[in-house]
Symmetry: C2
DNA sequence: TTGACATGCAAGTGATCACTTGCCTATCAT
DNA sequence: ATGATAGGCAAGTGATCACTTGCATGTCAA
């Protein structure tokens, strides 16, 4: 659970989740190009790759291999427990 | 919104929210003693004070003065928007 | 097989963060 | 007024984080 909160602490990673929330099964290069064109972020491939590794370690992103492509998708399950933690009694 | 996610990234601050979620209007010293006794955390007063400042800046905690006491309460409104950001389409 | 494409690994750097340390201000009871 | 209580301010330190840099691996088309 700690990994989830720390993964969400970075604005670039939250934008990546926004992008994966709109379209599943994107490759690293697809995510990179969409971040620059749609969201105005100028990050290198390696930076995004490390962000995706953090998101995957937190269980917020799952990946599957397809040849030389690695397809990334969002896994929103860990997000469900977040708000519930302090909003139970409403 | 960025301040909210960064505030939640620290485990001690999340424990503070847990404690304030159980009991409103706690002073700094009350929070300190409960963190050590109930949650086994050995943090100094200054450390907790700084954590509370971060939580207040993020809008997750509101305070009110009562003489020499400063009473802290949780403000869960910013938390409602978090999970909704990526769970809209379910 | 060769070159281009997509990704992986790891050391290094600058900035940010959590925490400490020391001193100061304000409020209350006696 | 004086001491005790509750809290505030700010400089300094060590660890963590995001990012870069350079090179390596794996896959596919020609």
């Amino acid at each position: 659970m700690d990994d989830v909160f720390k993964a969400l602490a970075d604005p670039t990673r939250r934008t990546i989740l926004d992008e994966l929330s709109e379209r599943d099964d994107q490759t690293l290069f697809e995510i990179c190009s969409r971040l620059t064109t749609k969201h105005g972020l100028g990050s290198t491939r390696q930076a995004i790759s490390q962000h995706l590794a953090v998101l995957e370690a937190a269980g917020l992103v799952r990946t599957r291999r397809d040849g030389r492509y690695k397809l990334h998708s969002i896994t929103p399950e860990p997000l469900r427990q977040i708000a519930d933690r302090w909003l139970r009694d409403d």
